[in-house]
């Protein structure tokens, strides 16, 4: 490799000399004492092959995680796998690229045909989803370094009220919606920008990044995986795919005996307790509520869309070009030092202002459409979760919530039911 770099530098030196003969202000001297000009050092980036190794490691750890969760039902195994993932994907690979952030690359690629995506990024995006589709969120359990980071420091989980969890559980949808909007308009990758842990992985970050990370770490001591549950946008996709997964971690290997031992075992509130046999509410009210919801959902979608459309300019104002155009349009507007540099740079580049305005008009239009879609989507999410919460689902056993369960297999250790010999065993003290 080094040889190639050297060769490159040498060639570049030769090529350059030839071409530059006419454009230099001060010609290159010819040394009389035979001084040799040193080669220009250009350190080579990581070999392209290594990214495929990362894909392989991801595939292997996903397989191992699924095997540990579904077949071995081993919390211990999952624990050590997450330690490995934290070390490899976190501290060794330094958190980039991760499936969580890859969502944005995919979206940007879909909306901007000119954007080039390495094939490995697509694989990083797709593989955890496919595994989730068949085995539940085993990616979250043992492969995601962000999850591992929070999971490992969990000390004394506080049980959040279920209704609060349900309400906070909608935040990731908003985050995902915004991330998609900003990625689709090529504005910014907000998931990466506000990644709380990547600074720890790299031993280097801005102060605000460390601050954010520190807060999440402190929270993680007492609240199980706060980022995963109440922010992670990729978690939304995993949650939805996991709902229809072919296999999934079960608390009891065979039949639940309703011993209630696992009731408090899940630090993430993902165990669903048996519902009462009969609905305590009148049937009429339920029906009524459904009728209301069928009207309300479209209304919510429209209201959300309308609100989104109204604030599209606010949403767009973080786009650098929009910001620039605003200043060019209103020269009286107060200019920060940073903006002044940007304005100067724009003027130096010599691009006509009109051209920029035309571009920005297109961007704003995109944001307008995007604002409607984002608002409508959020309206739909809120409406559907309201509908879901109005539905009575009879459910007799202690089971994991297929969507929110991270398949960490903690609950397994609490279940007295054993696979081979399903007799009640006395718990050891």
């Amino acid at each position: 490799m080094k040889k190639i770099v050297l060769l490159l530098s040498l060639l570049f030196v030769l090529t350059f000399q030839f071409e530059s003969a006419f454009s230099q202000r001060f010609p290159k001297p010819e040394f009389e004492n035979g001084h040799q000009q040193p080669p220009t050092l250009t350190p080579a980036p990581r070999a392209s092959l290594m990214q495929w190794f990362d894909v392989f490691v991801l595939l292997a750890s996903l397989s191992v995680a699924s095997w540990l969760v579904i077949k071995k039902r081993s919390r211990r195994g999952v624990f050590w796998l997450s330690v490995f993932s934290l070390a490899y994907f976190g501290f060794y690979r330094e958190g980039c690229i991760c499936p969580v952030g890859s969502v944005q690359n995919i979206v940007l690629g879909m909306f901007h045909p000119g954007y080039v995506i390495p094939a490995t990024v697509v694989l990083f995006f797709a593989m955890p989803l496919i595994f989730t589709l068949f085995f539940g969120r085993t990616f979250c359990a043992g492969v995601c370094p962000l999850g591992a980071m929070q999971d490992l420091v969990l000390y004394k989980p506080v049980n959040l009220k279920p209704w609060l969890q349900k309400a906070l559980g909608l935040i990731p949808y908003i985050y995902l919606g915004l991330a998609v909007l900003y990625a689709a308009t090529a504005t910014d990758f907000i998931i990466c920008r506000y990644d709380p842990f990547v600074g720890f992985f790299r031993f280097d970050a801005t102060f605000s990044m460390f601050f954010l990370g520190g807060i999440f770490m402190l929270m993680s001591l007492f609240i199980g995986r706060p980022y995963c549950r109440f922010l992670c946008p990729y978690g939304v996709l995993l949650n939805l795919t996991s709902l229809v997964s072919r296999k999934h971690l079960t608390i009891a290997p065979t039949k639940c005996i309703q011993c209630r031992l696992c009731e408090d075992s899940c630090p993430f509130g993902a165990i669903e307790v048996p519902s009462p046999v009969k609905p305590a509410e009148m049937r009429e009210t339920t029906v009524q509520r459904f009728l209301i919801l069928t009207i309300i959902i479209p209304v919510l979608v429209f209201a959300g869309g309308f609100a989104g459309g109204r604030i599209h300019e606010k949403l767009a104002s973080v786009h650098p070009k929009v910001e620039l155009a605003q200043h060019l349009l209103n020269p009286e507007k107060e200019v920060t030092e940073e903006m002044r540099v940007n304005l100067d740079a724009f003027k130096t580049a010599g691009k006509p202002t009109k051209e920029l305005f035309a571009e920005v008009a297109v961007i704003l239009h995109d944001f307008y459409v995007g604002g409607w879609i984002l608002g409508g989507f959020l309206g739909l999410v809120f409406g559907l979760s309201l509908a879901n919460l109005s539905k009575f689902k009879y459910q007799p056993d202690y089971i994991t919530n297929k969507g929110t369960c991270f398949s960490c297999a903690r609950c397994v250790d609490y279940c007295p039911v054993k696979d081979e010999n399903p007799i009640l065993q006395k718990p050891q003290n």
């Binding site: 209704w163 460390f210 075992s265 305005f357 919460l389």
Partner: protein, 628 residues
Amino acid sequence: MKNYNKLPETNLKLWKGLALFAGIFSFIICFLIIVNFVQINRIDPVNVETVNALVQRLHENPEDLALREQIRELDLLARKAYFTTQWQIRTGGYLLVAGIALLILSLQMIISARPKNPIPSAQAPENYLFTQKNARKWISAGGISMVAIALLLAFLTHNKLGNNLSDASKPNQITENEEVVEIPVAEISDSIKADQIVNEVSVLDNQIITTAQDSSQNTVKTQSPADIPAEKPASISKVDDFPSDDELRRNFPFFRGFDGLGIAFQKNIPTDWDGATGRNILWKIKIPLPGFNSPIVWGDRVFLTGASNNKKEVYCIEASSGKILWTVEVKDIPGSPGTSPKVTDDTGHAAPGMATDGQRVYAIFSNGDIIALDFAGKQVWVKNLGVPKNHYGHSSSLIIFRNKLIVQYDQGAGGQVMALSVSTGDILWSTPRKVKISWASPILISNAGRTEIVLVADPNVAGYDPETGVELWSIKGVIGEVGPSPAFDDGVVFVTNDYSKLLAIKVGEKPEVLWESDEYLSDVPSPVAASGLLFLVTSYGAVACYDAITGNKFWEHEFDEGFYSSPMIVENRVYLVNKKGVTHIFKADKEFVAIADPEIGEKSVCTPAFSNGKIYLRTQTSLFCIGS
């Protein structure tokens, strides 16, 4: 329950102690890192204002040794602080990770030692319906408040501003299109160049948005000067504000006037004056520093430069009074060499002519210093282009195309032609030229619907696209140390040099040599051509007139004294100043008809500049304004 979870009692205590220790340790380290972070933001090595201020003071009194010591100490301190802080943060980071790892480990041990609930908690799980109801309530509240906040933001804050932008960017485009299309359509009926314009229109239709601005300029160019409305340039984007050709013709913006072609469009030019008696001399002023550059004129301002070995100055003179309005000394240019390059006495340090676009004036000196000043004498930008390798001294004058300042920089090695942004001085393009040193100046020609820069040097004459710097054509021409600039008339470029030949080149897609001659050759004065006639002036005193197309010689005339100044054609008369300061005025005609030979009384090698009713003539020491 698995046995590995069990820990002996004593170990548990140990782990708890360890956890406490690791926790406190991590917290302290974390705190220290934060303190360091704050520090690192304070000690920014890139902007150590104190050091910079001290260095500035040192420049003012370079002999202050104590100050120098102080700077060195401060600099070392600042750098030390910066790198130590970084080291501290890094080391702190590792310590923190170690602390946290230990904390995690001990916490995990404690957790694993914790007995799993043997019995279910006494508390019954939250009521299912209650949960649903509460969640519904909060989700609704959250959703409604989000919509409310969104709408509030939309209606209360800067929404209007964004709307304006949205609106402004679109309609702007439409009005621009309409303007652009209208101009050529109206002209088709009465313009001779109708075909060409039709072509332009179709091009416009295709690229209307991206090139709207450029095209509108092109169409303006095809109009006759008289009917260009004064506010036309105002419709052009504010960023690229440059004068129209008509404005340029009304003034005298470059060496040898509009486009550097040696033709002035001014009226009522005097033919009679006398320097000795002061007849028709409006004013005369002394120029502080010598220089062989010819004056340029814009409105009521005359500009020229002067330079000695260690001083370079730009002068602005009020045309009506002859008062020097301001003098700007060009000094302390970053990158400018400490000593001026060696030049010969007959070239000097201020040989190249200035240029102006009506907003700023531009001047270049022998050492490659180039400066842009506004009309108040305030420096807009300045830079050094690198000292030109030129054994006589750099003498190629500046010229401006739209918003680009063109510099012909043919030198010993690495010659090039470049365009600088008039507003910033940034190099917009630069094209290497494989030619020898040239002392000629660039000219701009408008031919077959496009504008080209024409440059001459040994061994070729070449045309360049002024927008991109791309060489459009090149033809082998004159050799030697080329001094005379090219002349141009009706699609034909004329170049000449001593001991070489006189060439007439028909330019276009395929340039060809129409005719050549070696009877009269010039080594300093440039030829001038107009209305199918070419006037060639030699430095030893002979003047010849040729048919521009055929090369037939109409007449030749031998004057007593030689010429360094270039001829100018004004009001169909040729004005030609000889080395002694006598101006020969004769008809620009197929026959030689002398009109007058007024004397200024001082030696001169400069080309006169004109404004309506006035001539500005620079002599060796003075500037004369001639007029009645």
